[in-house]
Amino acid sequence: MPIDQEPLVSVDKLRVEFRGEDGPIVGVENISFSIAPGETVCVVGESGSGKSVTSLSLMRLVEFGGGRITSGRLGFSLNGEQIDLAQTDSETMQAIRGDEIGMIFQEPMTSLNPVFTIERQMTDGLRVHRGLSRTKARARALELLQQVRIPEPERRLTQYPHELSGGMRQRVMIAMAMACEPRLLIADEPTTALDVTIQAEILALIDRLKRETGMAVLFITHDMAVVAQMADRVVVMYRGKLVEEGPVERIFAAPQEEYTRKLLAAVPRLGEMRGKPAPEPMRLVGEETAQASPTPIDAAPEPLLKVSNLTTRYPVKGGLFRRTIANVHAVEDVSFDIGRGQTLALVGESGCGKSSCGRSILRLSEPTSGQVLLDRTDILALNNRDLRRRAWRDMQMVFQDPFASLNPYMRLRDQVAEPIRNFAIKTAGTVEDRVAELFDRVDLPRSFMSRFPHELSGGQRQRVAIARALAVNPKLIIADEAVSALDVSVQAQVLNLMMELQAELGVSYLFISHDMAVVERVAHRVGVMYLGRLVEIGSRQQVFENPQHSYTKSLLSAVPVADPTQRNIRDDLNFRPIPSPVFPLGHIPAPSIYDEVAPGHQVLRAQMGLGLD
């Protein structure tokens, strides 16, 4: 909704510098855009694009991070007058922060002070900015909590942040930002740390508040799908510069700049794989697409990996003698197969047990019961020595955080060579040759072999991690959120690499992810997990095109689609919170019983005590 009136914010040729060891480093330069009242402007960009620096400059918070606004105007219309926030003294700025401009941050865990109650945190701002008395401030806080639709608002006021869930905390943050009815709300990646259903709730909430109060929203995100759902206008940033600006429909339909086109191409869109049986690589602009066509669905009778009734519980210790007082039922009676050269994706929200499931198969976490057969080898029966020699020769893992999965003190060559030496893998030439070959295989220059991890970017590190996993010629790679921490264009490249490797080497993947759109792209089969159980499993088409379980349906409906013409943000979503997986000792959960709705498509029978319909 473009509105023809005086803009609320007009940023003109903003330039921010940071002090570096060798002179100033430019954070952003030549940034110009405006925000009209009641408009949502999304600033989108990958890490290091300067999108957060831009928003922090508007609040003049960038100065607290060592930055300096060296030139440019930050026009803001205050009481009918245009003022320049870049020139404003700090007292006026304090009055504007929280009063005229509200802000919410990415991490709802850390942006609330853990030692104060919700009431204390909420009323502080009201009493400072509005001079309200204690009782009036409390009444207003209650009203705000009702406005953001938190259940049981009276009780919440007396609680501490740790007693609330992540989504609830983000609602409190929004309520606080709304406290003084700001005319501009800056939201810096407000849903990045949240699960997809919670994200949908929070996006719907921000959208409703915007419509009800007429405030403008500056929304910072890296997620094109969120942009498509929320934005009126879009500002695309890259390496501290503004690439392109325009209405959301135009940006998505007809991007003018090369970079925007690349960025959009790399975004998987939920639903675009409709009707296609096999996975497909991402199209990348400016690169040859899809040299290797992914393997079709395997019809061989003998699966590579057969998991039956896998159960993993973690003890909860407590009391004076640290005895086990309860169990976390992380994985509960889960069974599935993975065929050769196939990808099974496990999806679900945080805490659903998908990572524990992957770790249990590798025995990085010890399962409580069940059976894992890899090529007829009973993995759970192996002793420690055989686990090393047999299980890990055939199964490897790629971890989520590329910054933590490589030893910072060891050269990359040595890290990739370790499994070859330890498992005495036969190589044609020397170990060194094999390492070089692996670097070629994951498209890394050989000169990187003598580098240390910190000298590489996130995507490059993840390639090293994949090379290390490939070193033993594994049959199965467990990829635990392996692309989640990567920027979208890098994510697309790494996904394509993984699919290429599958086509060439016939390796199978257990692909653990929370991102439904990515899973739709790469998986042959999909399993949906909820509260430790596999609630639905089937081919990708079966699960995405004909979801049967109510949880699968709500999960799919919550995923934002990267297409502004398909907005699925509805008013007042309120997904049921996931119940606790902690059960008292001796609790015997019901076994998982499945209904086969189609060949290979199994759905967990209802009334399993999962808190679902």
Partner: protein, 277 residues
Amino acid sequence: MKVPAAFRSTKGIAGVIVVVAVLAVAVFAPLLIPADWATRMDMRARLSPPTWAHPLGTDQLGRDLMFRVLLGAQTSIFIASAAVLMSIVIGLPLGLVSGYVGRTTDNVLMRLVDTLLSFPALLLALTISAILGPNLQNTIIAIGIAFTPFLARIIRGEALRVAQMPYVEAARTAGNSDLRLITLHILPNIMPAVIVQSTISLAFAILAEAGLSFLGLGTQPPDASWGLMIQASRDYLDRAPWTALVPGTAVAVTVLGLNMFGDALRDALDPRARGAA
């Protein structure tokens, strides 16, 4: 080999200079200066402020503080570094095993460490020294044992943290044995903490030796050590503050130099701080 960047910074250079200077004094002073210069009493010049005859003043028995501080360096430095080395040799494997193996092993080892920690370090050193008898070697053992629990605790905490890093799990699935995991993947990543803690321990070890000496279990008068000198100055602080300032400055400069040296060493070992290669 090229000198690492960390040792070319101002701090690094200062650290190296101080450490080399202190070591030189500790090694060469006893060779160049007759031992009795530190014990010779000048009864007419007791508690004398710095003069030409006594450049750094004298103590309550008229002994020359400059010679005492130079000759005392050897005792102090030797006892402190040997004791800290000993606490590393015992504490490092103890902490690593405790943090890495966990469970019962960790519980048993850490309860032992806690027991040691519950005694004041000095009292512990005193007891050990009293049992073993007062001589140089036993002083080192006493201080070394008394300092071990602190180091073991810190190393265990670091080992616990590092052991659950994804790169350690990745290294485990890469087929590394427990020994290789500990030495190649965990140890390098906890070295920064070990280095920092060791340099701090050195300062405390110099003072702990003083405490033992004061109780007659460390260096025996009239021999000099820095700790003994500080201890002896206690009664004369108001009249002759230099009696404390001279050995105090020696300890402070040594500790400062060690800290700078330790920081530079830590940075030199860290590939991330080596700068773009």
